[in-house]
Amino acid sequence: MSATAAPMTQDCLRAREAMRIRAARPDLAARHDLSSYDGLTAARSDITAEGDTGSSVAVVLRSFDLARWVRDTCVFALGVEPRQAADWRTSFTRTVFLAGNPEQLRERFRFAHTAADGSAAWTAPGPAARTASLRRLLKTFDAPARLPDRPDTLVEIPPGPRPPGRPRARRDLYVATAECTISEALVHVNHVLAEAVLDGHIAPGDHLVVHQVPRIVGAPARLVTVRVTTEKHLPGRLKAAAGLTEEARVA
């Protein structure tokens, strides 16, 4: 996948979104003209209409801290089995976020990963039916507050088996905070991280620096993974909600 160096123009955002859809679902790319906004919208509504049919992950959240959660999201995604990863990738790393306390649930449910402080837990990717009873017991995570302001934060992915010959890398994760609730930021950042991990852009031992910026405009750096979403107040236009830069060597 080629990274973008150009400023985040509408053309560039459409191209990135088309690339994402084509990579996961070539069949959708064949059905729609992904170079146009309308074609992208039609492809997205096809994906939405598929509902619960594909593979998905349920994340249970007791409390939320962006940097801590970024780290655990990567740890979880790095542990997903290749077969499950392929299905989940085809479903656009679909994820539901639920309010709940993992500590209270561990006797009844199996989680693939639980944060060390018990603040969050992840189910393995699979058919939605597998998490039906968990979803019945819990409620959708409702976090309408804005992301609390914070300085740039270094997140260290714990060491583990690395692809041969791949040096440890440092990347920047940008999160756009303007007009964005915590609930929305979760969705955006989760897709960026999950896809980056499954595509091999994040490996054990890597470093991520989390930057909260009002908007991802101009060209902060070359982005390897970008979350494209629609503008709330500008019909027909797209924006970047979160993005991960190309790597720099860890000194």
Partner: protein, 385 residues
């Protein structure tokens, strides 16, 4: 995070006597409308339970309107009246008229949480809007006419814990999920018992009636051996949650659900109105036009407890109610002294299973039994009149 689930026995009391301690805690009725047949049924049911259990145990009957004024349906009603009517004398409004205003409130758009704050704060200091004082005064009259024990309708009875304090207690019990930090709600979390997450405080800060019930009952529970929760069967899932929390504090918790009374086959909510001619005031007046006070009191209990029973299958029938008032008058004529019978306590104690409280349905139904001898005066006086 570690959680603790302390299962303590009931708190010991100084100079303990042998009698078990029982707390009756029925769900309260929002003082914003007339008392419907469903409400009457619950009140009569609780009253018979209270008076029949008293000879056998130390019984407390907790029924605090103060506790539940803090819920949105009450605060919202008051705010709606003041916003839409301004200064008004509520002192001579009828229950029906106030009920109509309540129906209008439920049909109107909700006020923002901010608008309810002054009311919520005033309630904590004991303030009551005159519209609800008026309703409670009218209800007090019905209580007196029906011989119902008044658990303090007009008294200031604040709950023992504030909202933050009760959330702290729940957190200590490992039963609270507080997501206010991300702008979210506070939940009662009994998921470890397989019960679904239940919201207690909305994201914009409004506590619901379950939060109010916990503020009241958590501090009371450790002082009792048995805690009886009486409620509409429609609230069953919430009361299962309440039972879980309160059981962890010591007492044996008994849930007694009492079915509502359908009107012409339909169970209606009071927010929809439809009580014309069918509320406590009119029913009492109609019965008293033909019968003396004791017959009305006993007849109401026979009908609402023994005839309608714990379920919700039979629709309300005024004619049948009056028929049982007549039957009550005959029973009262036949009643005699309890000579050659076991003591009243022993006779009452039969109407129990493994619980301390006396079952009102079993006790009241006995009065209608064909084989039964004439009812004893001490039972009628002590429990039914």
């Amino acid at each position: 995070m570690t959680t603790t689930l302390s299962v303590a026995g009931p708190r010991p009391r100084p100079g303990a006597v042998d009698r078990p301690r029982v707390l009756l805690a029925p769900v309260t009725i929002t003082p914003s409308k007339p008392l419907t047949p469903s409400h009457l049924k619950g009140l009569l049911w609780t009253d018979v339970m209270y008076r029949a259990t008293r000879p056998l145990a130390d019984v407390a009957y907790r029924y605090s309107h103060t506790t539940y004024h803090a819920t949105e349906q009450t605060l919202g009603f008051w705010e709606f009246l003041d916003r839409s009517r301004g200064a008004t004398d509520y002192g001579d409004l009828t229950e029906e008229r106030i009920g109509e205003l309540y129906v209008a409130f439920r049909a109107a758009e909700r006020a923002p949480a901010q608008a309810l704050l002054p009311y919520a704060e005033a309630v904590e200091r004991g303030w009551v809007h005159p519209v609800s004082t008026r309703v409670l005064e009218l209800w007090s009259g019905h209580y007196a006419a029906l011989g119902l024990h008044d658990p303090g309708l007009l008294r200031h009875q604040p709950p023992g814990l504030g909202l933050e304090a009760v959330l702290d207690r729940l957190t200590a019990l490992g039963m609270c999920l507080d997501q206010r930090e991300v702008g979210g709600p506070v939940y009662l979390d009994l998921t470890r018992f397989g019960l679904p997450l239940r919201r207690l405080v909305t994201a914009d800060g409004r506590p619901n009636y379950l939060a109010c019930a916990l503020r009241e009952l958590i501090p009371l529970a450790p002082d009792f051996d048995e805690l009886v929760l009486l409620y509409d069967h429609e609230l069953d899932s919430d009361y299962q949650q309440l039972e879980r929390v309160l059981s962890a504090l010591g007492p044996r918790v008994r849930r007694v659900s009492v079915g509502r009374v359908p009107i012409e086959g339909r169970i209606r909510s009071a927010r929809q109105g439809g009580w014309q001619g069918l509320h406590a005031g009119t029913l009492i007046d109609a019965a008293r036009a033909e019968h003396h006070e004791d017959a009305v009191r006993l007849g109401m209990r026979l009908y609402f407890i023994a005839v309608l029973g714990p379920g919700w299958q039979q629709s309300f029938r005024s004619d049948l109610l009056l028929q049982y008032v007549r039957r009550a008058a005959r029973l009262l004529d036949e009643a005699g002294p309890a000579t050659d019978r076991p003591t009243l306590s022993d006779r009452l104690a039969r109407h129990r299973k493994d619980h301390v409280y006396v079952d009102p349905y079993r006790l009241t139904s006995r009065l209608l039994g064909r084989r039964g001898a004439a009812p004893a005066e001490d039972l009628l006086r002590g429990v039914f009149l």
